[in-house]
Amino acid sequence: MKKIININFHSRVIPIEETAYDILRKYVESLKKHFADEEGGDEIVNDIENRFAELFSDRLKKGAVCITDADVNEIITSMGRPEDFDQDEKSTNGNAGSKGSSTFAEEATADEPRRLYRSENDKMLGGVCGGLAVYLRIDPSVVRIIYAVLILGSFGTALLLYIILWIALPPKSMVTKIKKRLFRDPDHRVIAGVASGLASYFNIEVWIPRVIFCLPLIIGLITSIFRHAFWFDYDGPVFFTGGFGGTLFITYIILWIVLPEAVTASEKLEMRGEKIDLASIKNTIKSDLEGFKQKASNVGAEMKQRAEEFGTEMKDRSLGIKKDISSVSIPRRGIGHAIGVLFKAFFLFIAVIITFALVAALIGVIFSGGIVLPLKDYVIHGFWQNILVWSALLLFLVLPVVALLTWLIRRIIGARSGSTYLGYIFGSLWVVGLISFIVLAATISRHFSTRSGVSDDVQMTSPANSRLIVQVDDSRPFYIDSDWMGINWRHKGPFFSIYLKTVSF
C-alpha cells in the first residue's frame, strides 16, 4: 500500500506514488547538475521535464490510476541518464567495451611511452623536438625553447646532439597530444604576436608581457637621457639596461621563430586552453568575425569556416584519436621560416634605429631652435628658402614622429586602422619633406660656395698649324687641411675651367 501524492507538473495535476516522486526528483536534480554549466541548461531541463509530463499524461489517459515507480524508471531509461549523455555526445574514448572503435586510440597511446621517435608532422628541422615533445607529453614549442637555450648555454654542443638524434631516431607520423599549447597570436599583434600569445597561455593581460619586453629599453632610454642631459659624470654600472635589453630582444626573436601562429580556430582555442568542441569553435569563429566588422554579416563565410573546422575535426575523430588531442597542426615552419623571421627582425631593427634618429633630430632642433632662430636669417634667404625650411622641418622630421606615435598608440589600445591610404598619405608627405630638405641643402650650399680664379699673363707663340692646344697641369692647384687626428692632408684642388680673357697680339 503506497502513499500517493498529487503534484503540479507543468500545469497538470499528476497523481504519483511518493516513492516514484522521489525517484523523479532525484533524476531532475542530477539533470540540473549536469547541465549547470551549459548555455541554455535550464531550457534543456525544462524540455525534458515537459516530455515526462507528456508521457505521464499519456499513461493516465490510457487508464492508469497513477504514476508508479516502474513508470518513472521506464521513462528515465528511455530518456537516458546524465552519464549516458556524455558518452553519446562526445566521441568515444575509454569505454572500449561499449563502443568498439576506440581500440584504435588505445593502441596509439600504448605505443608512445615506450619509444622515442622523431616526428614526421611537427618539424622545423628534423622533428627531433617534436618527437621529444610527444614522448614527454609537453608542448613542442616549450621543448624547442628549452633546446634553443641549451644550445646557447652549451656553446653549440647541443647542436651536435641534435644532429646525432636526427640520425639516430626513426621518424614516425605522430600527433601532438597536449591540450594547451603556446602559440603566437596573429590577431592581437603589435609586431609578431609573441606577447599576446604568451598572455593567452598564462592567462594574463596582454600589456603585461609587452611591457616586460619593452621595459629594459624604456629604462635604458630614460637613464641615458638623464646621464647625458645632466652632464655630471655617471660612472655607475649600466647593468639592468645594458644586459637585459639585449637578452630580452633575443628572447623575443627566438620566440618569434619557434612559436607557430594560431591561424585556425581550433589552434586559437588551444592557445587559450579551451575545450575544442563545436560550441567553442563556433564562439571563437564568432569573435573572430566580429573583429572584422565588414565580414560579420557574411554568414556564408562563417558557415564555411566552421564546417571546415568541423570537418577536419570529424576526420580526426574518425581515426580514433582521443578527445583531448589537438588536431594535427600543419607544419608552417622549417628553416625558411626561421630565416624569414631573422630578416624581418633585422629590418625592424633598422626601422627602429631610423625612427630614433629622427626623434633625436627633432628633439635637437626643438631644443636648439629657440636659440638658433635669430641666426636663421644669416643662412636662409628669400621666400622660397623659408618655405623649404618649414616644409622640410615639418614634413621630414615632425611628420614621421607624429605618424609613429599615432601608430603606436593605436596598436596599444587595439584600434583597427582606418584606411590603408593613411599610410600612403603619410609616406608621400614624408617623401615631399625629404625632397624639400635635399633642395634646401642644395640651395644653401650654393649660396655659400664661391669660386675664385687666378689671372696670369702667358706668352704664346703662334702655332704652326692654325690650331692651339691648351693643356692644364691640374696637379698644381692643391689645398691642405688637417683631420681629427691632427695629420695634415694634401688634397687636389678642384678645377673648374680655364678661359681666355684677352688676347693681344
Binding site: G40, D47, R51, S57, M79, L278, A279, M303, F310, M314
Partner: protein, 107 residues
C-alpha cells in the same frame, strides 16, 4: 555515436518538415540508429541557440504543449556543409576500404 554525425542526422530529419523531439527519436530508431532522448534535448537547444533551428509551441489536448522544431536559413546552409563533409568522409573511408594493393615495407 560521433557528435557531428548526430547533428547531421538530426538536421536531415528536421529538414524534411517540422518535427518534435519524440518524432526525431522515432525516425532515428527507424533508421536503426538508437539515441537517447536525453541526448537529443541538449543538442536541439544548442542548435537553437546557434540559430540553426527555430521552434514553435503547439498546444495539444492530449498533453502539455510541444515544441516543433524547423530549420532556419542558417541551419539549411550548415546542413549543406555537413552534407559535403559527410560525403567526403564517406568517400575517403570507402576509398581506403576498397584498396587492394599491398602496403610497401619500407617505412
Amino acid at each position: 555515436m560521433r557528435k557531428g554525425i548526430l547533428e547531421f542526422c538530426i538536421l536531415s530529419i528536421i529538414r524534411r518538415g517540422e518535427a518534435y523531439p519524440s518524432d526525431i527519436v522515432e525516425e532515428m530508431k527507424a533508421a536503426n540508429l538508437n539515441i537517447l532522448e536525453g541526448t537529443l534535448y541538449p543538442l536541439l537547444t544548442r542548435l537553437k541557440n546557434a540559430d540553426m533551428l527555430t521552434y514553435r509551441w503547439v498546444e495539444s489536448n492530449s498533453g502539455p504543449p510541444r515544441k516543433y522544431f524547423s530549420l532556419t536559413e542558417k541551419g539549411l546552409a550548415f546542413y549543406r556543409e555537413l552534407e559535403t563533409t559527410w560525403k567526403e568522409l564517406a568517400n575517403a573511408v570507402d576509398a581506403l576500404a576498397n584498396k587492394s594493393e599491398k602496403i610497401s615495407e619500407n617505412q
